[in-house]
Symmetry: C2
Subunit: 278 residues, 2 copies
């Protein structure tokens, strides 16, 4: 198939669960002509406390599933999978594939003035050192300070987006980074954009927040344009259901209900598949 | 093998992760002669937001693994697995098997004076209605009030056992149960005994807490005695390592470190296995 025939194919997006929906949402906003096939690994969530080997195995299964859905490109909308699995997968992936780490790292390196950048995320993302690595490729002298924030995901999933408890936990997690004088903070977990107001309140105006979901959608657009893969017209099918398709490995109903609180484009269905078979 | 020859065999204990260690700890305290083989499904934790079908499949794999270790009895040290998987598994399990739900339910039914019992746990445990079912078998008129507390597990795992944030969250979760006038509260998740002081502070002295880990160890002792399977002497091997063996499906090192904060008998090693192969 030449690139023109591939333009109408969907973009594959995956995450360990629901967090990657913040990335899917940005793609919907920035590229309303694109179709999306989303996979959330809700049976095996979370990835953030799993080993590199396990995360890689799971990610490879998901990539095989997305390829079976004839996607034209893949977005790894999960920081842990971007850190642990992307470097291996991109070596043999037959379609363009990007993660959320590089776009966020690039933007942070671009906007920091003092060269001190904070990164918050899961234990796996922070201890992988992947953001440091990506930032230093652009800004070799940058100081990158990481902090794992394991309570943020459950707090987001409990709906406590703007709540004194979340603010108190954010204060504890972020105090040390503030004391170190960061001027830029990367929200290095796809759940965190949902509490960016609370995080912003705690760090104040002197610290700029970088939302990798937003930057990744921008980078995807540039990538598709470069490869002549951008869809030039709205999908003929019309309905949101056929433009956006959602698959999960468990608990389809619960996924659908949370997804509908994040994405306002009407998620009409989420289908359960057996991801171990891929 | 006759029962006398089986007395020296270990007891198998499993959980979705580390929570079941509170049950293992009670077995160690109450039956110091027994050997234990513990499996924590750290690759696939948590079970509490997974479907019945998935939890059952995972539990069956684990039972097969434990049987391969020649255990003389099995304790399902996980409320979700006890609720979703035990009824099926006990039909075909070749060794005695007990869960944590029945022992906790029985004690609660015994000690309530007003017949109003609260149950806290994961969404899966609470929505399964399993505690209500077990309590009503003994006390048909009991009112059983459930409340899912999804933040308790991450708060425990962050070490905030006696912290104002945990207290504030406990107050929110428990207020409604208090307003309904419960006099007994079942800690229906194996992590919760670790924050029982904070929970006790919030509910006050008029509410009795039931710790299924403690009750399960007591029931196991009675069961082993009945089946003539109690070990009558301390394991000849002597060292803690050979008396207590720990297996996990991922992140053995992290498991070991958390386990050592709960159990004071010296967990010398935790071995990773591929549970999908069972």
């Amino acid at each position: 198939m030449n690139s023109e025939n591939r333009q109408h194919l969907p973009v594959g997006v995956f995450d360990s669960g629901i967090g990657g929906l913040t990335v899917a949402r940005e793609i919907m906003r920035q590229m309303p002509n694109e179709k999306i096939v989303y996979f959330g690994d809700t049976a095996r969530v979370p990835y953030g406390n799993k080993s590199r080997e396990t995360v890689r195995k799971y990610s490879e299964q998901i990539v095989r599933f997305l390829l079976s859905q004839e996607v034209k490109a893949i977005v790894v909308a999960c920081n842990t999978a971007s850190a642990y699995a992307l470097p291996e997968i991109e070596k043999h992936c037959p379609v363009p594939i990007i993660g959320v780490v590089e776009p966020g790292a690039k933007t942070a390196a671009d906007i920091t003035k003092v060269g001190r950048i904070g990164v918050i995320g899961t234990s796996a993302t922070v201890s992988s050192g992947i953001y440091t690595e990506c930032i230093r490729r652009i800004l070799p002298d940058a100081q990158v300070l990481g902090r794992a924030c394991p309570l943020f995901v459950p707090l987001v999933e409990e709906g406590l987006w703007e709540d004194p408890v979340t603010e108190e936990i954010a204060r504890r997690y972020l105090q040390e980074l503030m004391d170190e004088g960061i001027d830029t903070l990367i929200l290095g977990c796809t759940h965190y954009p949902l509490i960016r107001r609370t995080i912003g309140k705690v760090v104040g105006e002197s610290v700029q927040l970088v939302n990798p979901a937003y930057e990744t959608a921008r980078e995807l657009q540039q990538l598709l344009a470069r490869e002549d893969l951008l869809s030039e017209e709205a999908p003929a099918l019309g309905s949101a259901e056929s433009q956006y398709r959602f698959f999960v490995s468990d608990m389809a109903e619960k996924f659908r209900s949370f997804a509908n609180s994040i994405i306002k484009y009407g998620i009409l269905s989420a289908k359960m598949i057996h991801i171990e078979q891929y």
